[in-house]
Amino acid sequence: MNNFQKLEQERSKEYPNAVKNVKKRVDKTMNVYKFVGNIFDLYVPKIVGFVSVILGGDIDQENSSKYPNR
């Protein structure tokens, strides 16, 4: 290990809690991203379906037969 590397190692030891704090913030941000992603996955297809029906489109024929008992 050369002196440049030793200097970097010493510097990181000067702030022992810094990376722990950062990790909490990264996790929090990722949780927000995941939450937004889940909301998107859950509701966007429904909204798209709803909008297409409003605009005169038809509901998916395979999933909603007019005569389900036949």
Binding site: N2, N3, F4, Q5, K6, L7, E8, Q9, E10, R11, S12, Y15, A18, V19, N21, V22, K23, R25, V26, D27, T29, M30
Partner: protein, 185 residues
């Protein structure tokens, strides 16, 4: 429990396949101190360095699918780190004249050997690195801390290999000049 023998690249593949955060946690554990140390060396402010470290790891997470293993993970991570910090400093300086490569144009560049710089005592090295320009610090850190090749540095900084070689020459010269001014004049 993560197998300690797993390489960074294997951890990334496992993370991509499973999205299990423990693989990312392991990578974070391996590199967060180094990334933070680079950020604080370049930005010289704890709060800024924490913000930068957070942004860098978020970039890693959000772009991990783009990592194809063409370079080592550490090279990729450090590239993002240096570029992030250099961009930040550049934005801060945008209203000022940036005397990076131009400041030395009329001055003769004396070639400084690696040995000369590597033999500088650590307390003195700390002082002169503090006084060096951020771009010089970044170049010297890439070379002497991360051991990056000229090719990797050129790719990371989006510059030609000859431009990187010249930057190294100038950065070494300027660091030695600071050293001589402080300790021999």
């Amino acid at each position: 429990m993560i197998d300690v023998k797993e390489t960074d690249e294997e951890l990334i593949e496992l993370y991509k396949a499973s999205q299990n955060s423990r693989y990312f946690d392991e990578l974070y554990g391996r590199y967060s101190n180094k990334v933070f140390a680079k950020c604080i060396s370049l930005l010289k402010d704890r709060a800024l360095a924490e913000d930068a470290t957070q942004e860098i790891f978020m970039k890693i997470l959000l772009n991990i699918s783009k990592f194809k293993g063409a370079s080592k993970f550490s090279t990729w991570l450090y590239s993002i780190t240096y570029n992030f910090c250099i961009d930040y400093i550049r934005k801060q300086k945008k209203n000022r004249v940036v005397a990076d490569e131009t400041g030395i144009a009329d001055e003769a560049i004396e070639e400084v050997s690696d040995k000369e710089l590597l033999e500088i005592k650590i307390d003195r090295l700390e002082v002169i690195m503090e006084k060096a320009k951020p771009n010089d610090r970044a170049i010297l850190m890439m070379k002497y801390i991360d051991g990056m090749s000229i090719k990797d540095m050129a790719t990371s900084l989006n510059r030609s290999e000859s431009a990187i070689k010249m930057s190294i020459l100038r950065s070494k010269h300027r660091l030695k000049k600071i050293y001589n001014e402080l300790y021999y004049e």
